[in-house]
């Protein structure tokens, strides 16, 4: 393959981001209805926490009010980190062979796919996350970040990158298995159970919390929201960055193997 160089690759990635953003834009009307539903999911856990923690939480740094904020932040973040079916669609294209056209492009396969995923995330930021922030701000009074703004921004970007890689892994699995829906479900389940979007890890049984803290799922729920709320600082961001680097390297390596495999089986 002819090496077109970094600027060429960047142009393709930016084009992929723009295309993906515009594709999503067509459905913004329906997504607004979905945002109200998403807010209801948030209200459910807010109501549970408000009810149980009225008389105190027994956990330093947390009050009933801060737990309600924690749920709101996570519900907004999940549109950047967790809810994304692009990986399943990508795996479908591997299965029906149409992925061949992507593999033939004069640009890295991973860069192109990550561009598509980032485009979806960028759309979600404007039309899902910010819409939810507006709903929560009006309905419950969502507060601005209590943590340092640069740290919060870095945490959100890192969490979005880790979430994007998870989506990409679901798509890559299509090179090895017929059906990847189960991997997407597994990713969501692990995130909900031990990523801390509904229960801060500090409230989990000690052994579960100890394991969950060192897994990447905490990097898309517990860590970024705790940084937003000023409960954790740079040390949490460091764990997130380490996981982002590890997962990126794994993704590069698996992409190389996937390309070889596609060439062997004919796409």
């Amino acid at each position: 393959m002819v090496n077109q160089g970094q600027p060429q690759t960047m142009r393709f990635v930016v084009a992929a981001i723009r295309m993906s953003f515009r594709r999503n834009l067509q459905y913004r009307g329906q997504h607004m209805i979905n945002n109200v539903a998403s807010a209801i999911f948030g209200f459910i856990y807010m109501a549970i926490w408000r009810s149980v923690a009225q008389a105190g939480t027994g956990e330093p740094g947390y009050t009933a009010l801060s737990l309600v904020q924690y749920i709101m932040v996570n519900q907004c973040l999940m549109w950047l980190t967790t809810f994304d079916r692009y990986g399943v669609l990508l795996a479908g294209r591997v299965r029906d062979g149409t992925i061949g056209s992507d593999l033939m492009r004069p640009v890295g396969f991973m860069a192109l796919q990550m561009g598509q995923i980032y485009g979806g995330k960028l759309y979600n930021f404007f039309f899902r996350t910010l819409a939810l922030v507006a709903i929560f701000a009006l309905a419950v009074g969502m507060q601005p970040p209590a943590g340092s703004i640069p740290l919060v921004v870095a945490a959100i970007i890192t969490a979005t990158h880790i979430g994007s890689l998870m989506v990409y892994f679901v798509g890559l699995a299509g090179f090895w298995t017929v059906e990847t829906g189960w991997l997407y479900i597994l990713f969501q389940t692990m995130t909900i159970l031990i990523g801390g979007p509904s229960v801060p890890l500090d409230f989990m049984p000690a052994a579960v919390a100890a394991v969950a803290r060192v897994l990447p799922f905490a990097c898309i729920g517990y860590y970024p929201s705790s940084i937003y709320m000023g409960l954790l600082g740079g040390e949490a961001l460091l764990i997130m960055v380490v996981w982002a680097v590890i997962l990126t390297l794994v993704a590069i390596n698996v992409t190389r193997r996937a390309r070889r495999r596609a060439e062997v089986v004919g796409g």
Partner: protein, 269 residues
């Protein structure tokens, strides 16, 4: 000539068998997906169980009482999902014009649509719902909170729940004849209210409670009957009213479907 009731049952069973055979082509995938779907559904309960391990009660309901509420709704949701899979795909039929093929069959359109595919992959949700229900029932029976005929009534609750969820989903699908796009509307009318029904409705803000008692009457599926059975309030009439609400909701939703059907326009392509 209209098909007989026996013909409906026969046809449905044939299609159900073929659907199950299709799923079993990829046995490992079918089992893993079912298991994971069950685990995902269970995650909602595990999260609340973790909270209740620390705080003991949520608005007067302890872990086993919430388990009963959650398990029964989860069973109802699984029953609905096995049968209602294609109804959730209505947007695809309307956008592509594939609904034409449904209209030309000699069966009512809803029957043809539902019979096209039964989603046995959702049985995993049913199994986890059953397990959580049994855990709740065992403990509540041991305490004497549930006894005798109340156990018999428990069998009716998932059916009422399934009927109400089905009715809401059917009304949403029927709205598709006017709106075309319904996928996101389903999340609002069905998924979010079903999740809300897993927990005591008394904890929610007034507007959400109001919605779950009237427009999307999930309260009658599990919360109101379970609340009465556990001696937490309400009238005994609710045990009779709940299945009536389920039947009425189904009838109203089906009327809306029939009305919507007359508005269907193909894609013209």
């Amino acid at each position: 000539m209209r098909p007989s009731a026996a013909a409906y049952v026969r046809t449905f069973l044939v299609l159900a068998k073929s659907g199950l055979r299709e799923r079993m082509h990829y046995k490992a995938n079918f089992l893993i997906t079912s298991l994971l779907r069950g685990l995902t559904a269970l995650a909602d309960f595990l999260i609340v169980a973790v909270i209740l391990m620390r705080f003991r009660v949520v608005d007067g309901w302890d872990m086993y009482e919430v388990a009963l509420l959650y398990g029964l709704a989860s069973l109802g949701n699984a029953i609905y999902h096995v049968a209602g899979r294609e109804m959730e795909q209505i947007e695809r039929y309307l956008v592509s014009g594939d609904f034409d093929a449904i209209l030309v069959r000699p069966w009512p359109t809803l029957f043809t649509l539902l019979a096209r595919k039964l989603d046995f992959g959702r049985l995993g949700n049913g199994v986890q719902g059953l397990v959580v229900t049994v855990i709740g029932v065992n403990e509540l029976t041991r305490r004497g909170a549930l006894a005798g005929w109340e156990h018999v009534y428990l069998f009716l609750i998932p059916l009422t729940s399934a009927a109400i969820i089905f009715a809401v989903a059917l009304a949403t699908a029927a709205a598709g004849f006017w709106l075309i796009r319904t996928d996101d509307l389903q999340v609002f009318t069905t998924y979010a209210p079903v999740t809300a029904s897993y927990y005591p409705l008394s904890i929610y803000p007034g507007w959400l409670k109001g919605m779950l008692y009237t427009l999307i009457p999930m309260a009658f599926g599990n919360y109101l009957p379970v609340r009465y059975l556990l001696g937490k309030g309400g009238s005994p009439w609710v045990l009779l009213l709940a299945p009536v609400v389920g039947a009425l909701a189904l009838w109203l939703a089906y009327r809306l479907w029939l009305t919507g059907e007359t508005r269907y326009q193909s894609t013209g392509s």
